[in-house]
């Protein structure tokens, strides 16, 4: 908006009507449904005082639940980089029979209610399930362990990764690759030295989105988790447990931690994208 630096915005009259009405409604609705309730949570967390908050957040069971949510979300997001990158590559670059169906099915974790995903994954990976039985024979227990939590978070996070990276791969201009090939680079060198650097911001964004989602995920996890305190109890579940005890303070403290971690990772994305726009000199 180059004009806005010189002309005050009020002076530029738009001929289009409805500014006051639509902006007023937008702000009122957003405040009532989202901002005021969220502010109540933040005020309540802030109103506890640092000492009480630290005591609640430092509770052993809370700490182990937060640590479990953090580590499983991190691991799942890493696995999603490994699975999501080739998936996005194949969908953006290759034509094969059924590509459109495969492309559509990527969004299944967005569309399938989390509780349904949860019971389906549990029945698959339970020790007597189709896949769980095979793993059990090898001595690996998936359902009712942190491994099962990670699996559910991989399921939930995959579309974030694919949908962030896929359009960037599709927009890559072939001239850089051609130049690299002309200069004698093989395909592997071209990928890691020429293609990977411009994809990196998108990969990190997908990673952060999947991680932030995994940190707060509830429905798909609680069925497969086992929910054993100190072992397989995730932070969102502990919020529910504290609420059932009418312990609003403890629930608020855990919620503030989850929100803080999610917001921090999303803030990191914005900083990263601003940085990559500056250093690569283009909008992507």
């Amino acid at each position: 908006m180059p004009i806005s630096a010189t002309v005050p915005w009020r002076k530029r009259q738009s001929v289009i009507p409805g500014f006051g009405m639509t902006l007023g409604f937008t702000l009122a609705y957003l405040s009532l449904i989202a901002l005021i309730p969220l502010a109540v949570l933040l005020f309540r967390a802030a109103g506890m005082g640092w000492h009480d908050f630290a005591a609640l957040a430092g509770d052993k069971r809370t700490l182990s639940a937060v640590r479990l949510s953090f580590s499983t979300a991190l691991l799942a997001a890493l696995v999603n980089v490994v699975i999501g990158l080739p998936t996005a590559w194949v969908l953006a670059r290759y034509d094969f029979p059924g590509r459109r169906v495969v492309d559509a099915i990527i969004d299944l974790p967005f569309a399938l209610p989390t509780a349904v995903a949860g019971i389906a994954l549990t029945s698959l990976y339970a020790p007597n399930g189709w896949l769980g039985a095979g793993f059990a024979a090898l001595g690996v227990k998936i359902a009712y362990t942190p491994l099962g939590i990670t699996l559910a978070l991989i399921f939930i996070g995959l579309p974030f990764m694919v949908r962030t990276v896929q359009p960037v791969i599709a927009d890559l201009e072939p001239d850089m690759e051609e130049a690299a090939a002309t200069l004698g680079a093989n395909r592997g060198q071209t990928f890691s030295l020429v293609l990977l650097p411009p994809l990196l911001p998108a990969i990190l964004t997908g990673f952060a989105l999947a991680f932030a989602r995994g940190m707060g995920e509830y429905g798909s996890v609680i069925f497969i988790a086992g929910n054993l305190p100190y072992v397989s109890e995730i932070a969102p579940l502990l919020i529910v447990i504290r609420l059932e005890e009418f312990n609003y303070e403890a629930a608020t403290a855990i919620a503030a931690i989850i929100l803080g971690v999610s917001f921090a990772s999303l803030l990191a994305i914005n900083v990263l994208q601003a940085w990559s726009r500056r250093s690569l000199g283009h909008d992507s």
Partner: protein, 285 residues
Amino acid sequence: MTARSFRGPAVTEPPWARWLLVAVVLTILAILLVLPLAVVFIEALKRGAGVYLAALSDPDALSAVKLTMIVAAISVPLNVVFGIAAAWAVTKFRFPGKSLLTTLIDLPFSVSPVVAGLIFVLVFGARGWLGPWLRANSIEIIFAVPGIVLATTFVTLPFVARELIPLMESQGVADEEAALSLGANGWQTFWRVTLPNIRWGVLYGVLLCNARAMGEFGAVSVVSGHIRGLTNTMPLHVEILYNEYNFAASFAVASLLALLALITLFAKSALEWRYSSELAAGRGH
């Protein structure tokens, strides 16, 4: 198998590598995504069609279906009106704080579902901000339908707006200015010019919003109280039946939700293929 656009051998992978990569990716997706979906239907129908239909015609299941539809029928239209108003304000005018507003509209997506439920308990719950006043006036919000509607509206708030904002941004204001200069008033311009331009975008947003509204679990679970026949939505009913080891009935209700997910995916893809130029999502946003 060919590369999607013509590429010389130096700038694509050899055919064997392409086939191998596709095979690996398809195998992973089949195990990770398709198998869980298949399991829902197989488990639902394992005991035969009689058990399946009995589970679905159970009064508690029917009342869960009804409540889910009522909640979606309130939340989705609210968020459609909000999405259109927000997109109109953000894309047709310039004002300070615009990018902050766009960020705030997306905020509910980065809030854990459980936290989304919790914030309404902190406002309306028995020990919440307005709790004593609500009790004095015997108004029930938490552990009642209004709380479920509020939590659902919160988690689905951004869907329509985030589809329409980039779409209307790219369409600009020329059509509206032309209509106004020809003597149309504001509402005529909206109904006859803007709305036809954005109808597929609205539908796209409605599809995603509705799927989430009907399927939301975490936020609704916190505010619902799980009262059978009264405050049980379909996803909550799935959980209750599952925890009672009534797996056949649980998967039967779950299969309805899975069917909704499939219909949503199909309609969404159909919109992306046919009307990609009239959707923000179809252009890789």
